[in-house]
Amino acid sequence: MNLVRNHVLISIDAGTIMAGARAVEKALVEEINKQGLSGEIAVLETGSIGATGQGVVIVVYPEGIYYANVTPADAAELVEEHLLKGRPVKRLIMTEMPKQHVIKKEKTGLLREQPRIVLRNSGVINPENIDEYIAEGGYEALEKAFTDLKPAGVTKEVKDSGLMGRGGAAFTTAMKWEFAARAPGDVKYIICNADEGEPGTFKDRLILEGDPHKLIEGMILAGYAVGATKGFVYIRGEYALSIERLEKAITQARLYGLLGDDILESGFSFDIAVMKGAGAYVCGEETALIESLEGKRGHPRNKPPYPVTEGLWAKPTVVNNVETLANVPEIVRNGAAWYRGYGTDKCPGTKVYTIIGNVATPGLIEAEMGTTLRDIIYEYAGGIKDGKKFKGALVGGAAGAFMGPEMLDAKMDFVNLKEYAAVLGSGAILVMDEDADIVGMLQSVLHFFRHESCGHCVPCRLGTNQLAEIIDRIAEGKGKTEDVDKLVSISEVMRDTSFCPLGQSPVLPITSSLRFFRDEVYSRVQ
């Protein structure tokens, strides 16, 4: 056995690659070789550690020291001082640390402050090595499913856990599975919706980059429960690193016999293919996604029939979001009761958020369902940047709702937010400080809808156009009071008559902005 004295984990995700992570990795390896430390220091790639905007981030174990904004020029000093002499390089140590990383890893699971279920391995293991996933309990859920639970038991466990779809619609996952399992037919499909198009959301990308095997295991379990033999991951074409890691993970799983025929000698066969999307927002809608998968133009279908009875190639199909499926192995492995220990009664578990905008530490966090917006912003994201005041947040992306200061203590979960006519959506939280311009924000959102409307139905095609023109008028100072009323009435008609959720969505940001920032919007019209 070769003893490795120090492990240097370098966070490789789309953000850190842009900041030059590959160059830093190369410089570190070269420097380590130069100093003759290559046998005893290992440099490993890992996924996002949850901090963005801090350049290249590395972690040195066993000390567990985080460095931020590392450049290739720092490699010599890091190797000489820290790895050779054992003196951490203070000037590079991360100061603005995301909260969960302050807690050392060995305390995971003991401290409720760090309820990491989906992101448990992200930033800890090497996502390109299946053995590391297996070491952390990976594919244990499969063992349990095949030997104890059997398909009905897997569904029951997921049902008892209360898991709801994390893509935004919050439909009970087990119910979808049951419908598809009961639907007649020998050929059934599992589709993972990784077409993460909601502006400001990048959680699925980081889950895939940090722990691709978790998704694979979740899909196998879903396939087993439903009786499907084939799975598809429909993923944004822009997610180059996610695709690369996912494909690598699929290849490794096949080599180990965890995908393919007769998995673990259970008699169950399942395989996964990765399909790239071409970047249309509407293809995140499940029926448009299915059309696109079939090679057609990405337009939504009539419902019913729902995909669970007639989906891909008219076969029973389950479409689940990445985060939903990533919860499944942990639920099956640890049991529904364990899962219910997190979150609220009606909404168990955790939620992964991407928090962006005017906060001190933007990035990726996982918090229990029912955590207040205040805690998310002030505890996890370090509060408002530069000590400014909180003005509001856009929660759930473009199809989400604005929340004002009076919502800071609202418990964030799917059920509770519904009472406030707000949504959790995909989990994007865009925080605005006192200087933010609500009309400008609304303008961006409505322009986005105009750009992404697929043109299939009239209310959405014309409505999104009208909304964009009206908000432009208001932003230019040429709007009238009636224009504000028109925004509301047009979007309400769109909500009632549009074919799919795209056209039904603009009403939410419009009415919520008026609810919290009415005076500001009206001050901009004549």
Partner: protein, 116 residues
């Protein structure tokens, strides 16, 4: 692959990952300050790493620290065992390091002639 084989892979992989950030039974800390390195601490550290690796001692960590302030005794090494007082060794070299691994780390008898 079957379930048994998966379990075997897990056991092996767990050991590898544990090494990265484990709670160790024994910690061997080599002083790697400027004077320590000048006196040959680099070789001592390397020997510890090799010896511990060779013997598959998965509950032992070898790590380094800075100057201890006793330059005349360098290279210096401290061995920490759970629930026991730390032992400090001075004037270490590769041969002495090998003996410390065998006698102290493996068999639990500190090598008193090297201790300071």
């Amino acid at each position: 692959m079957n379930l048994e084989e998966l379990k075997k892979i897990r056991e092996k992989a767990q050991k590898d990952v544990e090494l990265r950030q484990k709670q160790a039974r024994v910690r061997i800390v080599v002083g790697m300050g400027t004077s320590g390195i000048a006196a040959g601490a680099r070789d001592v550290l390397k020997t510890f790493v090799e010896e511990v690796g060779k013997r598959n001692l998965s509950d032992v960590v070898v790590t380094q620290t800075g100057e201890k302030g006793l330059a005349s005794q360098e290279p210096m090494v401290e061995v920490f065992e759970e629930d026991k007082p730390a032992v400090v060794y001075g004037n270490m070299d590769s041969e002495k390091a090998k003996r410390v691994v065998v006698e102290h780390v493996v068999n639990g008898h500190p090598v008193s002639e090297f201790a300071i």
